[in-house]
């Protein structure tokens, strides 16, 4: 809505550096840290909620252009709908974003794929959206700048500034201290700080929110292909069989009609090789598990790639408290899991939507009161705590099963494919859960029980052997039962998250 031309002098920085920042105000209603998908969408949702055009929103990001590391690129229909509601979908589609119809999941390269289609999920859009992350962020920032001037002050976007500290008043967070590239600092006061700065959130750390349970699962390496021969065009693909899953999905339609496809490889935390040898490792240990001719195209792309491959850590961060006085966490900053279910961006969008709803509810709050008061934050957190555990539980379970590192998880994987092969209803219900469209607890419980039952059945009945030893059958079944038992706590947590009364949610201060 507005650019950041004016230079505003703010409070002196603690270290006595030059204290000026390209800001128009020293005080804002909301400061959003992070101008990625979650940050931009939240800013947009807040702007649309400000129907009396009274609010000032500042969006800050440490990078002038986009984050150099590749990140999420697939948005489920639920997220695509939110983008549409925010008026962002057409812009993203216009710059080359591709509507994806669902997932094609390969148990192994020689098997027919399981078609998990979005169109089968009732009451949802039939397609999601996939877009190159850098293009996504550039477009969103551009849209942010061009947001219709709903408010007098509108949204300010400040790029190239990082959060160095938080301003506090008692237990309440009152703003942020920004630091520019040259070391200059600026204090910005705000009624609410929204941390949308990703899984390694600086704000979260500065606020003292514990990262307890944070675990680096491994790494994701990615390459880009042009005009790849995807077995199911217009779908995201999951190939199993290698150490970790290989994902392939279209990310951009270029002006000449060529489709760019992202291929990611899930690597272990202790990389077996580093540097240039990593390419050879991918060629030997991952690419062969992808069906032809896509495998040959991936191999050519890996070989042709110059310089180090793009890599990002995969992190499991059990959802921390998403709100505290004066602070809200959204997107990956509010908890993240393995990207296998591609639900991270959709969750970020749901956070934006939820905050937008609360902001709309408080649009007419009198001057002198925070736009998003404690009750708004409590409601946000109550809602956030309902959908995030489901996503994390599913991502955790699916990743473990798809990895197939032990008897039990392989049995669950086999059971999943067996279950999906049993009919359209099974696929539809699973897809509704995976795409964040389904949140009814009984559906989650039913799916869990059905998968566990299939796991026991498939463990006892071999696929190929006519005289499979009883000992092996028992071992597999025992492994599946053990895994199912271990997940009971998770299932209970998800169920509780869905049925827990909203009034139980409190906003704790640190």
């Amino acid at each position: 809505m507005s650019t950041t031309d004016p230079i505003v002098t703010t409070e002196p920085a603690a270290r006595g550096a030059v204290t000026e920042a390209p800001l128009r105000h020293a005080r804002y209603d909301v400061v959003i840290v992070g101008a990625g998908l979650a940050g931009c969408a939240t800013a947009r949702a807040l702007a649309l909620a400000d129907r009396f055009a009274r609010r000032r929103v500042l969006v800050v990001d440490r990078y002038r252009d986009v984050h150099p590391r590749f990140s999420g690129e697939l948005i489920h229909p639920r997220g695509a709908q939110i983008l549409d509601d925010l008026g962002l979908f057409s812009a993203l589609h216009g710059v080359g974003g591709i509507e994806v119809g669902g997932f094609a999941v390969f148990e192994h390269a020689d098997a027919p794929f399981v078609d998990l289609s979005y169109a089968d999920v009732p009451r949802e859009r039939p397609r999601g959206l996939s877009i190159h992350h850098k293009e996504l962020v550039r477009t969103l920032r551009r849209e942010l700048r061009a947001t219709p001037r709903g408010s007098a002050e509108g949204i300010e976007l400040l790029e190239g500034w990082a959060v160095a500290d938080l301003l506090r008043h008692g237990d309440r967070i009152r703003g942020v201290v920004l630091e520019g590239k040259g070391g200059q600092r600026a204090s910005v006061h705000a009624d609410l700080v929204i941390a949308a700065d990703g899984k390694g959130s600086t704000v979260r750390k500065l606020a003292g929110i514990s990262d307890e349970g944070r675990e680096t699962i491994g790494f994701t390496a990615g390459v880009e292909l042009r005009g790849a021969s995807l077995p199911r065009p217009g779908y995201a693909h999951v190939f199993l069989g290698a150490w970790g899953p290989v994902l392939a999905y279209p990310i951009l339609r270029q002006a000449d009609g060529t489709i760019r496809t992202r291929v990611t490889f899930d690597l272990p935390r202790e990389l077996p090789v580093k540097g240039p040898a990593l390419k050879q490792h991918l060629l030997r240990s991952y690419v062969p598990f992808v069906p032809a001719p896509l495998s040959a195209e991936i191999a050519a792309a890996v070989m042709a790639h110059r310089g180090p491959l793009e890599m990002a850590p995969t992190v499991n961060l059990p959802a921390p408290s998403a709100a505290m006085p004066g602070l809200v966490l959204v997107g990956d900053a509010a908890g993240c899991s393995h990207p296998i279910t591609a639900s991270g961006m959709t969750m970020g969008l749901r956070d934006a939507e939820t905050l937008g709803l609360q902001a709309k509810r408080r649009a007419d709050a009198p001057d002198g009161e925070p736009w998003l008061d404690a009750e708004s934050l409590r409601r946000y957190r109550a809602e956030h705590d309902r959908y995030v555990p489901t996503r994390q539980a599913l991502a955790d379970a699916i990743y473990e099963a798809f990895r197939g590192g032990e008897d039990g998880s392989r049995a669950i994987r086999r059971a999943l494919f067996d279950y999906w092969g049993s009919g359209g209803t099974a696929r539809r219900r699973s897809m509704a859960l995976l795409s964040c469209s389904e949140r009814r607890p009984h559906v989650f419980l039913t799916e869990y029980i059905k998968t566990a039952r299939h796991a026991l059945e498939t463990s006892l009945v071999p696929q190929h052997a006519s005289m499979y030893p009883v000992g092996d059958r028992v071992r597999r079944a025992r492994g599946a039962a053990k895994l199912a038992r271990n997940k009971l706590g998770l299932v209970a947590a998800v169920m509780w998250a869905q049925v827990r009364p909203a009034w139980l949610t409190r906003i704790e201060s640190r």
């Binding site: 390269a109 240990s285 495998s295 008897d407 696929q463 190929h464 005289m467 499979y468």
Partner: protein, 640 residues
Amino acid sequence: MFDRPQAAASSSVDDGPSRVHIGGPPLRAGLERALAGAVAWRERARASKTTDAWLLHVPDVGPTCEVLLADRLFHDLRPAERDGLLAFVRGSQADSGAWLDAHGEPDLSLTTLGWWVLRDAGDDPRSEPMLRAQRVVHQLGGAQRANFSVRLWLAMGGQIPWTWLPAIPSELFLLPPHVLLSPSRFSPWARGMLTPYFVIARAPARLQLPDATALLLPHNDGQPMAPRLTRPGLAGDLLQAFDRTVKLARKLPRGPLPRLATRRALAFIDEHQQGHGGWFSVRPTLLSLVALRVMGATSSDARLRRGLDHLRRGRGRARIPQGRGAGEVALAQGIAGPSLDVHGRLLACGPTEPELAWLLRQELTLRGPWQARADAATGGFPFESGATHHLDVDGTCTVLHTLASLPEVAGPTPGFTTAIWATSRRALDVLLAMQEPDGRFSRFERGESDVLMQQLPWTDADLLAHGRTDDDEHVRTSARVLATLSAAGFRIDDDRMARGLRWLEHTLGPRMHEHVTTGRLSTVAALAEALGPLTPTSHPLRRELEQRLRVRQHEDGGFGPIVDTAHALQAMLALGLHDVQTQRAAAWLATRAMRDRDGELASWSQPVDRGLGLSPAGFDPSAGPRETAIALQAYLATKP
């Protein structure tokens, strides 16, 4: 891969009269020489005519003798073939009159067969070599104490009664395959032998063979001593009584059971004839053909023709490894068709695309008996080329290793590469499915070493299973599978890999001396290739393996024969060692490769246990140049 830039010579090793510069031209020249030797062996093994092709695994005279004996029934050998085979038998006789096993020890069974075959060929039994052989047989206990296979031939030739062989109750063949006593629970080799034996014994067959009673050790009354079929002890006595009862019961009317059992055994023989015409290997093939013949198949029967053609393809030229004619070239019968294990390793020394295409065509595409207890789709590779039914985990590992080295070696076309990947995927699944609950990997079939009837005190009980569960072959096979899987990206965080490693630790821990200090270096190399990528350098088993390996190095840098040194160098490299001991081993190898003037590298041949069933050890004439080339290639590729 072979034209890497030469590294600067950083050190040198004094090796007698010549000084070898590490990483310099002598190493490279040694590699080129070894590669040329390996390629030459590939071409020798590929010759189109049987009489021109060379065997890559030269067994003892057993299979050759049995083919000569069986020809009394089939009349299939051409005069040149017969003469060539007889030359091999004659040349292999030691001065003592005995025929030796691959480790140089006089062997009762081989000597019995050798004597009998020469007697059949018209040699005078009163000639000195024949008399010496007869004396050896008597010294070793008489022909009645020969192994099961020889006693079977003696029985078929009418030289000993059938009661001197263990009885197989007909009912066994009528048992469902999952029952523990069913023949389907025997190892594939044992099944391939005992099923036709059951049919032949039921006939019973009689071949027109010369008198061999002179080989039987007699009692004082002149009657030959009957062999004991069971081990001493109460259990053995009871079993002996049971054996007599079964044989007695055969004389009683038993309704349709024997007929049904014979029919089922014949159906088994029919079903298990492989695409190349043979059965599991040469001995089961010979017996199956005899069984078909005695059950009425004529010489024009397609099954017989295909089987005999397969036997013919399994023959080849061989340099007689030991005996009076050592070094001479003769025609020998291989223990099986051309081995994919050896071919695969030869192809690792610089394959061409047609050769790789041939290798890919050897993949198993038909459902086989190994899939009864291994839950995997069809895939993997057999022991011998052209086989369609039986999986060989060893051969599969070799082929996967060869295919995995391709992007660097051959750079095949993309379509070809995807075919290789598809084959590799299937083979990896097969390997994983061959893991036993305790973590080891079986070679031919799961449960091949866990045969219940092997526990009974038969003297021939070892026939029924494929070795012991913790023997050298299972250690080597398990290590090779773990190494192959780890090269394909499987890591120790996979429970199957962890289980395999635990089994190795558990099995090797108390027996390091047997397997590593005095064991074969090929096994040590396989262990190193498994432990290298799967364990940290501080892992106790890995450290002990390394220490014991280092101790085996001689002062001159070698580890004994050239093949052993090549395996030792491979092991050191797999363990990540690039120190002076490794450099000296590489220099020693290169020097030896350059010194060798004989293209056939007879001195490089080593006895190897790469066979099937009885007396499996043989000589691998291509091992020297092949393993040297592989070791030096790896050394030059990984040299810091």
